[in-house]
C-alpha cells in the first residue's frame, strides 16, 4: 500500500541486506493488512461460519478431525439426500478439510488449545497473506522492477475481488485455491524460465494440491497448455519448454488422478484433452527439432513440417471420433455453458438458477477492482514491449480470464490475480519513471540505446517493437512534472485503499446467517432468525427427523441443526431436487404423498415478508417451479403461476395454482393474524395480501422465528380414523360433514 512507493527511494541505501530486510518487513505488513481487513465480520458479529457451502466444509472438517483421515476418505453420509445418501468422501475436494485438519493437529501437537471452528473461520484470511506473497513472487518473475512485486502483493492483499471469497468465516474451497492458483503459476513460470525438472515437478505437486482443493483447477489445466501452444506457434519452442511441460503434465496428471472425485477424468473428459494434445504435439515438435539438428537438408524439413500437420490432423480427428463414440465424456454442463452462453438457460436450469453463475455487468468489475480495471489494459500493453515467454503468459491469462469473468460473476476470482499483476506492472513503471531523483540534462540524448538493442534481440521472431517504444528513453526533466504525477498517484492509491476498505466493510463482510439492521436511533440490531430456528430443530425434534427445504438451506440444516435433509447445496441429483420443487409447488393433496414417501417430518421455508428480506423462498419459487417442470412438464407448469397478464403476484389476483401451492400456503399461513383485518402487507413484494389467509390441512405449524424469517411445519401423520386430512380438519373445526353422495331411489339388495 502506502509503503511500496517508498521503495525506489531505498535504492539510495547501499547494503542489499538492508534492502531485503525492508522487503521482508513490507511483505509482512502487507500480509498483516490483508488479514486484518478480512476480520470485519468477526469483530462485528462473532467467529462464525458464513453462508451456505462453508457449513458443509465445516461439518466435513469436524468429521475428519473426529474420525481420522481414512474414515473421512470412505465417508458415506446417510444424513443428506435422504433416502439416497451421498458418497461424500468420493464426491468432494478434500484439500480444504485436510489443510485445516493438519493445521489443527500441528497446533495441538504444539500444545495450543484451539477450537477447530476458529481454524476454519481464520483459514481464509491466513491464506490471503500467503496469496499476497505468491503474487509478489509471480510479479517478480515478470519484470525487473523490484517495486512492481511489492505493489502487486499489496493490491492482491486488499482488492475486493479476492476479499469477496476470503473474509473470515468464508470457509470455502476458494479460500486456499486462489493461493494455490497463483503459486502454481509462479512455479510454472519459473520452470519455463529455467527448464528444470525440479521446478516442473514442484509445479505438478502444487497442481495436485490445487486439484484436491477446487474444481477451478481446470483453468490451470487449460491455461498452461495454451501457453505452451502459443509459444510453439510463435516459434519459441525450446528444450526448456519441453522439459518443464513434460514433467508438469506427466506428474501433475498422476497427482490429480489420486483424488477420488477426479479419478480417471484427466484422460477421459474433454476439458483435459487440450493438455494431452499439447503434450503429444510437444513430443512431435521435439522429435522434429532433434532430427532437424541432425539433418540440415531443406527438403527434409518441409517434409517434417508436413508430417507434423498430418499427425496433428489425424490425432484431432481421432479425438473427435472418440468423443462422438462416447469413449471420451463430452463437456460437463458448467464448462460448456462458458462457451455457449445460452446453453445453461435452456438445458440446466439448476446451473442457471445460481446467482453466481450470472453474467457480470460492468459496475461489478469496478466494484471489485476499482482503479485497477483501467490500469490492467495498460499493464497488458507493457508486456508487449519485450514479450518474453512469461509475458506471453500474462497476455493469454488476461484475455482468457476477462472473458470468463464477463460470462460468470464467480470467475471474477480467477481474473483478480492477473489484474493485480498487470496493474502493478503499469503503476510501478510510472512510479519508477517519475520518482527517480536525477533528471537528464537537455543536451544529452543518447542513453537509451542499450535498452532498445536488447529489445531487438528479444524480439527475433516478432520483428518490430511497439510504436510507443521506438525512441530511446530520456527521462523526466522538471521536478514539477514529477511532483504532479507522484501526487496524483498517491491520491489514486489512497482512494483505492479507501474504496477497498469501504467495499469490504459494506458488501462482503456479512455472514448472511446473521443479519444486521439499524434501529431508528442508529444502534445496530442483530437479526438471528436462522440460528434461532436451527437450534429449535436441534433441541425439539428427534435426531432422525427428516427436514425438507429448498436446497439452499440443506448445508446449514446439516451443519447447524444436525438433522437429515432431502436435498442440499451439492446439487448432484437433479431429479431429487425436482421432487422437492414439485412438492413445494403443488397442491397439498399432491404434495402430501410425496412427503410421506420421502419420510419427511418437518418442512422449512424462508419467508421475508414481515421484515422485507428479499432473499426468501417466494422470490426463489419460480426456480423451484422451473426445475420441477423440467422433470414433470405435465404436472407443474410455470405458466400457471403467472396471471393472465404475465405477472408474478401474491395478492388477491394471484393465480389459483399459486394460491394453492404448498409454498404459498406455508409462507402466508396465519400471517393475517399479525395485522388488523384486511391490512396484511408483504414488505418484500410491496403488496397487500388477500383478506383471508390460506388454510393448511396436511401439515401444521410447528415453529416460527422471531421475525418470521424461518417457518417450520410438521407433516401430520395419517389420520387415526382413516379419514383424509381435509375432512379431519373440517370435523375438528366443527363443520358439519357433508354427505359424500346421496342415495337415490329405493335400496336394493346387492347380489353378486
Amino acid at each position: 500500500m502506502a509503503t511500496s512507493p517508498v521503495d525506489p527511494l531505498l535504492k539510495q541505501l547501499t547494503g542489499p541486506n538492508t534492502r531485503s530486510l525492508l522487503r521482508v518487513i513490507i511483505l509482512l505488513t502487507i500480509a498483516a493488512a490483508a488479514v486484518s481487513s478480512r476480520l470485519f465480520s468477526v469483530i462485528r458479529f462473532e467467529s462464525i461460519i458464513h453462508e451456505f457451502d462453508p457449513w458443509f466444509n465445516f461439518r466435513a472438517t469436524k468429521y475428519l478431525v473426529q474420525n481420522g483421515f481414512y474414515s473421512f476418505w470412505d465417508w458415506f453420509d446417510d444424513r443428506t439426500w435422504h433416502p439416497l445418501g451421498r458418497v461424500t468422501g468420493g464426491t468432494l475436494y478434500p484439500g480444504l478439510m485436510v489443510t485445516s485438519g493438519i493445521i489443527y493437529h500441528v497446533l495441538r501437537f504444539l500444545t495450543f488449545p484451539v477450537d477447530i471452528r476458529n481454524i476454519c473461520v481464520l483459514l481464509a484470511p491466513g491464506f490471503s497473506g500467503l496469496t499476497a506473497f505468491a503474487t509478489y513472487l509471480l510479479t517478480n518473475e515478470m519484470v525487473t522492477s523490484p517495486s512492481a512485486g511489492l505493489l502487486a502483493a499489496a493490491f492482491m492483499g486488499i482488492t475486493p475481488g479476492y476479499i469477496s471469497r476470503s473474509v473470515a468465516g468464508s470457509y470455502d474451497n476458494e479460500a486456499i485455491a486462489i493461493f494455490l492458483l497463483v503459486f502454481t503459476f509462479f512455479l510454472w513460470i519459473k520452470a519455463v524460465k529455467l527448464g528444470s525438472v525440479f521446478w516442473g515437478a514442484l509445479t505438478a505437486l502444487f497442481y495436485g494440491y490445487m486439484v484436491s482443493a477446487w474444481g477451478g483447477y481446470v483453468f490451470i489445466t487449460n491455461l498452461l497448455p495454451l501457453h505452451a501452444f502459443v509459444l510453439i506457434c510463435m516459434g519459441r519452442y525450446s528444450p526448456r519448454l519441453y522439459v518443464s511441460y513434460t514433467s508438469w503434465y506427466a506428474l501433475g496428471t498422476l497427482a490429480s488422478m489420486q483424488i477420488p472425485f477426479v479419478g480417471f477424468l484427466p484422460i477421459r473428459s474433454s476439458e483435459h484433452m487440450s493438455a494431452l494434445g499439447v503434450f503429444g504435439l510437444l513430443q512431435i515438435v521435439g522429435f522434429v527439432e532433434f532430427v532437424r539438428n541432425q539433418l540440415p537438408s531443406r527438403q527434409f524439413q518441409t517434409l517434417l513440417r508436413a508430417l507434423v500437420l498430418v499427425i496433428f490432423a489425424v490425432s484431432f480427428g481421432g479425438l473427435v471420433l472418440l468423443t462422438v463414440s462416447g469413449v471420451i465424456a463430452p463437456w460437463t454442463g458448467r464448462f460448456y455453458s462458458l462457451w455457449d452462453t445460452g446453453y445453461a438457460k435452456i438445458h440446466i436450469p439448476i446451473i442457471a438458477s445460481v446467482s453466481e453463475h450470472q453474467p457480470t455487468a460492468w459496475p461489478a468489475f469496478f466494484f471489485d477492482l476499482s482503479m485497477m480495471i483501467w490500469l490492467f489494459p495498460a499493464g497488458v500493453y507493457m508486456c508487449f514491449r519485450k514479450l518474453t515467454d512469461e509475458q506471453v503468459f500474462i497476455v493469454i491469462y488476461a484475455v482468457l480470464a476477462s472473458y470468463f469473468a464477463g460470462v460468470m460473476v464467480r470467475l471474477m476470482l480467477t481474473l483478480t490475480p492477473i489484474v493485480c499483476v498487470a496493474s502493478a506492472i503499469a503503476f510501478s513503471q510510472i512510479l519508477d519513471t517519475y520518482m527517480s531523483i536525477d533528471s537528464p540534462t537537455p543536451e544529452v540524448q543518447a542513453n537509451g540505446t542499450p535498452a532498445s538493442a536488447s529489445v531487438a534481440a528479444a524480439s527475433a521472431m516478432l520483428p518490430d517493437g511497439l510504436r510507443s517504444t521506438r525512441n530511446p528513453i530520456v527521462g523526466i526533466y522538471s521536478y514539477t512534472s514529477k511532483l504532479t504525477v507522484v501526487a496524483a498517484s498517491t491520491v489514486y492509491l489512497m482512494l483505492f485503499v479507501m474504496h477497498c476498505t469501504w467495499v469490504t466493510s459494506n458488501a462482503y463482510s456479512s455472514p448472511s446467517v446473521v443479519l444486521a439492521s439499524r434501529l431508528p436511533d442508529g444502534s445496530q440490531h442483530i437479526i438471528d432468525d436462522y440460528r434461532e430456528a436451527y437450534y429449535w430443530l436441534r433441541q425439539n425434534t428427534p435426531e432422525n427427523a427428516k427436514i425438507m427445504s429448498w436446497w439452499d438451506y440443506g448445508y446449514q440444516i446439516g451443519g447447524m441443526a444436525d438433522r437429515p435433509t432431502l436435498v442440499d447445496n451439492n446439487t448432484w441429483n437433479n431429479t431429487h431436487i425436482a421432487t422437492v420443487g414439485k412438492a413445494m409447488s403443488s397442491r397439498e393433496e399432491v404434495s402430501y404423498p410425496i412427503m410421506r414417501q420421502h419420510e419427511v417430518d418437518y418442512v422449512l421455508v424462508v419467508f421475508g415478508g414481515l421484515l422485507g428480506y428479499s432473499g426468501d423462498d417466494i422470490n426463489k419459487f419460480l426456480w423451484m417451479v422451473r426445475i420441477a417442470e423440467g422433470i414433470w412438464p405435465d404436472e407443474v407448469k410455470e405458466r400457471n403461476f403467472f396471471t393472465a397478464r404475465g405477472e408474478y403476484r401474491v395478492d388477491d389476483e394471484a393465480t389459483p395454482t399459486m394460491k394453492n401451492s404448498l409454498m404459498y400456503k406455508m409462507s402466508y399461513y396465519n400471517y393475517n393474524a399479525l395485522f388488523p383485518a384486511g391490512q396484511a402487507q408483504d414488505r418484500v413484494r410491496n403488496t397487500r395480501l388477500p383478506a383471508e389467509g390460506p388454510q393448511l390441512t396436511t401439515i401444521e405449524e410447528a415453529f416460527t422465528s422471531e421475525n418470521w424469517i424461518i417457518r417450520i411445519y410438521k407433516v401430520k401423520d395419517l389420520d387415526n380414523f382413516g379419514r383424509d386430512h381435509g375432512s379431519a380438519v373440517a370435523f375438528d373445526k366443527g363443520n358439519k360433514k357433508k354427505r359424500a353422495h346421496k342415495r337415490k331411489g329405493a335400496r336394493t339388495l346387492r347380489v353378486e
Binding site: T341, I346, P359, T360, A361, W362, P363, A364, F365, F366, I373, W374, L375, F376, P377, A378, V380, Y381, M382, F384, R385, V395, A398, V399, S402, Y403, A405, G406, V407, A426, Q429, I430, T433, P442, G448, S459, M461, L462, P463, D464, L466, S468, T469, N471, I473, V474, I476, Y477, S478, S481, V485, A488, Y492, L495, M498, W502, N506, P633, R639, A644
Partner: protein, 328 residues
C-alpha cells in the same frame, strides 16, 4: 347437478350427429386434405368443423399471426419448424394410424376463434385429444402450449405432442439434408485455404506484427471488462427513453446496463489506459523539455478528469458510494 351433467354429456353426441356428418366422414375429408397439404390451412369455419366435439382423432392447431403488420417475430421464426414437424409426421405415418391432424390458423382468417378463445398472445398451440374411440380422454379441454420459454424447435414440440398422445406410431422429425449449406461451407473452406496460401507472403508479416496483437488483446480485454458479455447474454437494449422524451444512457441499478452504456465505459477505460501508457512509456522518451512537461500535465489532467467522471458514473449506478474526485 351431477344428473344434469350426465344428461348433457349423453345428449351431446346426438346433437352433433343431428347437426353434422358423422365423425368418420369428417375424418376421411380432412385425411385426404392433409395428404395433399399439411399442416392444414384453417379458417374459422373449418377450425370449428375440425375440432368439433365427437371426434375419434387428435388435432394439433397452431394459432399464429404471420402477417408482418402484427410484428410477431416468434410466429414467423417458428413457422418453418412447424411445417417441418407436420410434414415429417404425415410422411412418416402414411397409413394414418396415429390419427393426428396438424392445422394452422392464422389470425387473419380466424379472428373470431381468437376472440372466442380470448387469446391475447400468439403463437399458441392447442391440442385436442379424441373424445370418442379407443384413445378418448375424459378431459375435453384442449391442452395448451405457450411459448413462454422462447423459440422452440420442431423436436421439442414433437416431444410435447407425443407426451399427450397415447401409444401409437409417433414418426420422428426428419430434417431434410441441407445440400446448399454443405456445398457452400465446402466452397468457403476451400476458398479460405486458397486465399491463405496465395496471400501468405502478405499475411505472415501482419500476423507477426506485435502492434496488431497488442491492439487485439487490449480490445478484447476492454470489451470483456466493460460488460459486453452481459449485453450478449441478456440481450439488453442499446439505449432507452427516460420517460420525458429524452434518452437515458445509463441504466438504473447496480446489475443492469444498456448497450451504449458499456461502450461509453469501454471508451473511458480505453482513454485512461492510453493516458497511463503515454505517461509511462511515451513521455520519458520526449527529448524536448517544454513538450515533455506539457505532455505530463496534459495526460495527468486527462487521467484525473476521466477518473473523476468514471467515479461519478459509478455513483449514479450505486447510490451509496461515498467517494468522488473533484470536477464531477
Amino acid at each position: 347437478m351431477r344428473w344434469l351433467l350426465l344428461l348433457t354429456a349423453s345428449l351431446l353426441p346426438f346433437t352433433a350427429i343431428a347437426a353434422k356428418k358423422a365423425p368418420k366422414d369428417r375424418y376421411q375429408d380432412f385425411r385426404t386434405k392433409s395428404l395433399s397439404s399439411t399442416p392444414l390451412k384453417l379458417d374459422d369455419a373449418s377450425y370449428t368443423k375440425l375440432t368439433q366435439a365427437p371426434r375419434d382423432y387428435a388435432v394439433v392447431v397452431l394459432l399464429t399471426a404471420l402477417e408482418t403488420r402484427f410484428g410477431c417475430v416468434l410466429c414467423r421464426e417458428f413457422q418453418p419448424e412447424w411445417e417441418l414437424l407436420a410434414k415429417s409426421w404425415t410422411n412418416g405415418d402414411k397409413k394414418g394410424e396415429s390419427r393426428v391432424f396438424f392445422g394452422t390458423l392464422d389470425f387473419a382468417e380466424g379472428r373470431n376463434t381468437f376472440q372466442s378463445l380470448q387469446l391475447q398472445t400468439a403463437p399458441v398451440i392447442l391440442m385436442f385429444n379424441p373424445t370418442t374411440g379407443a384413445n378418448a380422454k375424459v378431459d375435453a379441454q384442449p391442452s395448451r402450449f405457450d411459448f413462454t420459454a422462447g423459440p422452440q424447435s420442431a423436436e421439442s414440440i414433437h416431444a410435447w405432442v407425443s407426451r399427450h398422445l397415447p401409444e401409437g406410431p409417433k414418426p420422428a422429425v426428419s430434417r431434410p439434408i441441407n445440400y446448399f449449406k454443405i456445398v457452400s461451407v465446402t466452397t468457403a473452406i476451400l476458398g479460405l485455404i486458397t486465399l491463405v496460401t496465395v496471400t501468405a507472403p502478405y499475411i505472415v508479416p501482419l500476423l507477426q506484427n506485435r502492434n496488431l496483437w497488442a491492439a487485439f488483446s487490449l480490445i478484447a480485454v476492454l470489451l470483456f471488462t466493460s460488460g459486453h458479455m452481459f449485453n450478449h447474454i441478456r440481450k439488453v437494449p442499446y439505449v432507452s427513453g427516460d420517460g420525458k422524451g429524452g434518452i437515458s444512457y445509463f441504466a438504473g441499478g447496480f446489475s443492469n446496463q444498456f448497450g451504449m452504456e458499456t461502450q461509453i465505459i469501454a471508451a473511458i477505460y480505453g482513454v485512461l489506459s492510453f493516458a497511463t501508457i503515454s505517461l509511462a512509456l511515451k513521455v520519458p522518451r520526449i527529448s524536448d523539455p517544454k513538450a515533455q512537461s506539457l505532455a505530463v500535465f496534459l495526460w495527468s489532467g486527462v487521467i484525473f478528469g476521466m477518473y473523476s467522471f468514471l467515479m461519478s458514473v459509478f455513483r449514479m449506478k450505486n447510490g451509496g458510494y461515498p467517494f468522488f474526485l473533484p470536477p464531477f
